[in-house]
């Protein structure tokens, strides 16, 4: 190894160590502590017995109630991800294509919601979707429905609010992922006989796949770990893994069980990340 590459390696090391240390202290250690906690025995009195048992995991696996909850959580993750792609894609495509001088401003506007906390935006949706909310007032005013639709305190509301909250993330990922795309490729496809529809499916969509995948991963993970929105819009009537962790930790005071659910959620993340990696490698191998 030459002196040059050795000093380059030292530089890399020097630059990464602080970050790695920070990560260790703020992420790995608490996680290890949480893992240890999940093997303790707890009960609903809040008493925690220091031991090493798989009781908490067994309780989860042995109860179809929790299986349903895990299924609903996965479904929420998938559903919100797909819906977010569907509504964000046209916006991102427009932003990539536009030659407007306001392009910069338009992009900023599309991601501006990130400037407000998702708690605030969740309250916004409560106001919009409630029985007296704008949406129901408009529907009834237009005579489309006689009674207000139940849009909050149920799963529908959670989906609607989460999709909107996730859109800016998805749009950002899509914009970044359009790197290999330029409009000349569409022109080339058209000159070779492809109409708009085929140009989209054969050229635009495949080229946007890296962005779609990254966005999907991010949105899925953010969705299944989100707590505030399902909690508030769900009105405590719908249950997902994240809300259950909160309930177990704060209401039931069964910390070992809460920790075990947290690790089951983490396992779900791991599965999704493996799928993402596989998919990404497949597109890149093309």
């Amino acid at each position: 190894m030459s002196a040059k590459t050795r000093s380059a390696r030292l530089t890399v090391l020097g630059l990464t160590v602080p970050g790695l240390l920070g990560l260790a202290v703020s992420f790995v250690l608490p996680l290890a502590w949480l893992l240890r906690m999940s093997f303790n025995r707890g009960d609903s009195t809040g008493y925690i017995e220091e031991t090493f048992t798989l009781d908490s995991y067994a309780q989860f696996v042995g109860d179809s109630y929790y299986w349903d909850m895990a299924w609903e959580t996965t479904l929420l993750g998938l559903g919100v991800t797909v819906l977010t792609i569907v509504v964000s894609y046209p916006i991102a495509l427009f932003l990539v294509r536009t030659e407007s001088r306001f392009k910069g401003i338009l992009v900023a506007l599309a991601v501006a919601p990130l400037l407000t906390s998702s708690v605030v935006r969740t309250y916004g949706w409560l106001v919009l979707l409630g029985n007296q909310g704008v949406v129901n007032q408009a529907l009834m005013g237009a005579g489309l429905v006689d009674q207000p639709l139940a849009l909050i305190n149920n799963r529908i509301g959670v989906y609607i609010a989460l999709v909107e909250i996730m859109m800016p993330y998805m749009i950002l990922c899509l914009l970044a992922g359009f790197g290999r795309f330029n409009q000349e490729l569409e022109h080339a496809a058209q000159s070779l006989g492809a109409n708009r529809w085929r140009t989209f499916w054969r050229i635009v969509w495949p080229l946007s796949m890296p962005g779609v995948l990254t966005g999907a991963l991010l949105v899925f993970v953010l969705t299944i770990s989100s707590f505030v929105t399902p909690r508030l819009v769900g009105g405590g009537k719908v249950f997902y893994l994240a809300t259950e962790i909160y309930d177990q930790a704060t209401a039931t005071l069964n910390w070992p069980f809460a920790a075990a659910i947290a690790f089951i959620l983490l396992a779900l993340f791991a599965v999704v990340i493996v799928i993402y990696q596989r998919a990404l490698r497949r597109i890149e191998a093309q």
Binding site: R180, A188, S191, L192, G193, A194, Q286
Partner: protein, 351 residues
């Protein structure tokens, strides 16, 4: 009506003050290789894209083989396009790129395979059909782009500065290759370039454009030897342009009073009168040593370029370029006072 006929084509982009292309009328015969040549921004790409259908003409009409296609959408025009940046599909390999147009036409698998192989062999890339686009050199990408456009057997092949991203040597090879493929297939071709050497070397006819209008249409020889005006003379090859006053014209030869040079003669096709411009190419100028009181000007620069020597001669406020064959005559030093002259048939009166 020619095979590809453009009539009074105008393109004014929204918001633009002037049209980018104006009153463009041109007929191109089947199998002809026509270049659109002009400085940057003169409307070459715009014109090509109107033929392709990628840009909609503001007014005017385009006919192909007698059928109007002014309003035909791009994907139904069946023209082969090669873009400046090649626009190859990065997610498809070489063979799938070339096959794309055939897939759109729902050509059978077997036939598509055969034609893709043929097209790749034509551009001598048969051995790279499985490669990814990323793994190709610029010249190879260029060939793939050409194969992809040719495989659909287009009525017209449109090339927009296809060589401008290649290095000088490769550019020369590729232009010969494009030309020989074009001859072999007999395909009608419109070739956009801002490189006059390129246009002169490959074209059957050249269309010289400036600021959206056609300045001259002609064979390379016509354009070079008989430029229609000052713009064309200046743009094609190097040119000395002299202000002159025509004193007498007879039998296609004008007697002139040329500023700084005195009485001279030049070919005059048009029988012009009064003030005129005279064109003499640098290599047709002759220069000889003269006594100061008899001289036209002074040698200001001497540049030795191998086979020839280029002199810059100061005449009044202007600099005249003279190119003489090295070794053929006595080499002149800077500061030498000289006389300039030319053969009558080497000078042309422009209007």
């Amino acid at each position: 009506m020619s095979f590809l006929q453009l009539d009074d084509i105008v393109k004014k982009y929204p918001g633009a003050e002037r049209p980018s292309v104006a009153d463009f009328t041109l007929g191109i015969d089947q199998g002809e290789f026509v270049s659109l040549l002009g400085p940057s921004g003169c409307g070459k790409t715009t014109t090509l894209r109107m033929i392709a259908g990628l840009v909609e003409a503001t007014s005017g009409r385009i006919h192909l083989d007698g059928k109007e296609l002014t309003r035909t959408p791009v994907h139904q025009r069946g023209m082969g396009l090669v873009f400046q940046n090649y626009a190859l599909f990065p997610h498809l390999n070489v063979a799938r790129n070339v096959a794309f147009g055939l897939e759109m036409r729902r050509t059978s698998k077997a036939e598509a395979k055969r034609r893709v192989e043929e097209a790749l062999d034509l551009v001598r890339l048969g051995h790279l059909s499985g490669r990814r686009i990323k793994q190709l050199s610029g010249g190879q990408q260029q060939r793939v782009a050409l194969a992809r456009a040719l495989v659909i057997e287009p009525a017209v092949l449109l090339l927009d500065e296809p060589l401008s991203n290649l290095d000088a040597k490769l550019r020369d090879t590729m232009r010969e290759e494009i030309r020989s493929i074009q001859r072999k297939l007999g395909i009608t071709t419109v070739f956009v370039t801002h490189d006059q050497d390129e246009a002169l070397a490959v074209s059957d006819r050249i269309v010289v454009m400036s600021e959206g209008v056609i300045e001259q249409v002609g064979t390379p020889e016509q354009i070079y030897e008989h430029p229609a005006n000052r713009f064309v003379a200046n743009f094609i090859g190097r040119a000395n342009l002299f202000d002159a006053q025509i004193t007498h014209t007879a039998g296609g030869v004008a007697e002139l009073d040329v500023a700084g040079l005195g009485q001279m003669r030049a070919v005059d096709d048009q029988g012009a009168k009064g003030p005129a411009t005279v064109l003499v190419r640098p290599h047709r100028m002759q220069v000889s040593k003269a006594a100061a009181d008899d001289a036209h000007g002074t040698v200001e620069t001497v540049v030795y370029v191998g086979d020839s020597i280029e002199y810059g001669v100061r005449v009044g406020d202007n600099t005249v370029s003279v190119q003489s064959v090295a070794g053929a005559a006595e080499r002149l030093e800077r500061g030498t006072t000289v006389r300039l002259s030319w053969q009558t048939e080497d000078a042309l009166v422009l209007t």
